[in-house]
């Protein structure tokens, strides 16, 4: 193996990791920088090689190598920035626009005045990618970015798809011998990208085993998926395919929880809580679902239920009755209307009758009597003197 000849600084982080693992060296934390790996690499691996050969030369070489490695460790980080500057300035408008688009920035037209602005933005984006090397949360992401930085920038703005695939596979191969649960979920996180199903199932079986030890059941579900909670890993290979909706992962310290965005219910795996799908295991603990069902209130007055007047008004009044009452309150009462009508009718009839000169009119004597009465009233005081009562003789004394 030409390990001895290769400069560790030139190896990718994943390669360093694999070599360290191969030499049974404990890996440092995921967030450590590459030089840590390089240091370990040199310490253990080169030390081993040195043990086989003569010591002095190898020590010198090791030292030099270490120094060289350290030195070279610095420059690759500076190089991308210098390279970036050159690249950005050297890009044509179209290329600048394309690279901005690649980084997710939908730039407007690049003109003389706007070019400087967009160049600065692109630089910022590129520089922000670099420091994310050691500090990103997810292990897979950290690996991904660091690798791409070392591989991608120096090659220019090549497509990352190839490096993507290789780096994802590297993640899988490296992280599958898990030391803690963090790596297991991160391995499953890398499931998001299209990876081979065999390694996929392997990671899932790993997870299932660990889950079973703790008595939990992994919870990804989707329509038509089958669970292998207690049954084992048999079904898993069919369950999780890359084209399934992406799984989001929440990783509390020791446990991992799976969420599916399309699921109708969320499941959180906490310590001491077993989560089981009711479909398969109806007798088990009910799942915390988002669905709540409340008992329906009985319909008042229906099906023999007594109508209890909950409201202060005695009879429930519909809007129509209320309107009618309002209208009725304003109008004249009906009987009054009828009386008025009759009175007016009589008057009109009398007037009509007066106008008519009809001797056979039955009411004519009445009318005559009325007119006589009227006349007699006028001559009353005078007329009293005229009709002398024969019985009453004027007494001449």
């Amino acid at each position: 193996m030409p390990v001895f000849e290769e400069d560790p600084a030139q190896l990718s982080k994943s390669r360093l990791k694999s070599d360290l693992v191969a030499h049974n060296v404990t890996l440092p934390t995921e967030k450590s920088k590459k030089d840590v790996y390089v240091g370990l690499y040199l310490k253990h691996i080169d030390a081993k090689n040195a043990a086989d050969f003569s010591s002095d030369e190898e020590d010198q070489v090791v030292n030099q190598g270490h120094v060289v490695a350290c030195h070279q460790e610095d420059t690759p980080k500076e190089k991308p920035s210098a390279v970036d500057m050159l690249d950005v300035n050297g890009l044509t408008d179209d290329e600048l626009k394309a690279s901005l688009l690649k980084h997710g920035l939908n730039a407007g037209p690049i003109v003389a005045s706007t070019r400087a602005l967009y160049e600065r933005r692109l630089l910022k984006i590129l520089q922000s990618n670099m420091p994310s090397e050691p500090t990103v949360n997810g292990a897979g992401d950290a690996n991904a970015y660091s690798d791409s930085e070392e591989e991608g920038d120096e090659e220019g703005k090549d497509e990352d798809s190839d490096s993507n695939d290789s780096r994802q596979e590297d993640i899988l191969t490296l992280e599958l011998p898990p030391e803690n649960d963090k790596q297991v979920p991160s391995a499953s996180m890398s499931v998001k990208s299209n990876t081979s199903s065999s390694s996929h199932t392997f990671s899932i079986t790993q997870m299932v085993k660990e889950k079973e030890e703790r008595g939990f059941s992994p919870v990804p579900q989707a329509d038509g998926r089958r669970w292998s909670e207690s049954k084992g890993q048999g079904d898993w290979s069919q369950v999780a395919t890359p084209e399934q909706p992406k799984w989001e992962l929440c990783t509390p310290k020791n446990e991992s929880a799976y969420y599916t965005p399309n699921a109708s219910y969320k499941q959180t795996v906490k310590e001491g809580l077993t989560v089981v799908p009711t479909r398969l295991y109806p007798s088990a603990v009910p799942i915390l679902t988002g669905i709540t069902a409340t008992c329906r209130r009985p319909i008042k007055g229906a099906a023999g239920r007594p109508v209890l007047y909950k409201y202060p008004d005695a009879p429930p009044t519909s809007p129509m009755t209320l309107e009618r009452r309002e209208v009725d309150a304003r109008l004249v009462p009906v009987y009054a209307q009828v009386l008025v009508f009759l009175a007016i009718a009589c008057l009109l009839y009398l007037v009509y009758a007066c106008m008519e000169e009809n001797p056979y009119h039955p009411l004519l004597p009445l009318l005559d009597g009325l007119s006589e009465a009227l006349e007699s009233q006028e001559e009353g005081p005078v007329g009293l003197a005229h009709p002398g009562d024969p019985a009453d003789t004027p007494v001449d004394l």
């Binding site: 408008d93 626009k97 730039a107 407007g108 037209p109 690049i110 003109v111 005045s113």
Partner: protein, 90 residues
């Protein structure tokens, strides 16, 4: 004074709102596509650039030629269209 095209009259008669680049006089489908590729997907962006060039005829026509390959007639139409719009609305 040369007669104006219908397109010119349509453009100049109202605020350009969200009109596409192809609404500009002199800019047809092919030129419009090229402008859109460069990022000038709306007429107001071309207007912005026109204003930035100081409404200068020579500069604008030169820019238009470089950007989308417009010939002199198309450049002229576009320039006059924008100029008149600015006179009316700015």
């Amino acid at each position: 004074m040369s007669s104006t095209t219908q397109k010119h009259r349509d453009f100049v008669s109202e605020p350009m709102a969200k009109k596409k680049v192809t609404a500009l006089a002199g800019i047809g489908d092919a030129l419009g596509k090229r402008l859109e590729d460069k990022g000038f997907d709306k007429a107001d962006k071309v207007l912005g650039h026109f204003l930035m060039l100081g409404k200068d005829e020579g500069r604008f026509k030169c820019w238009l030629k470089d950007t989308c390959g417009a010939n002199s007639r198309q450049q002229d139409h576009c320039y006059r269209c924008l100029r008149e719009w600015c006179d009316s609305f700015l």
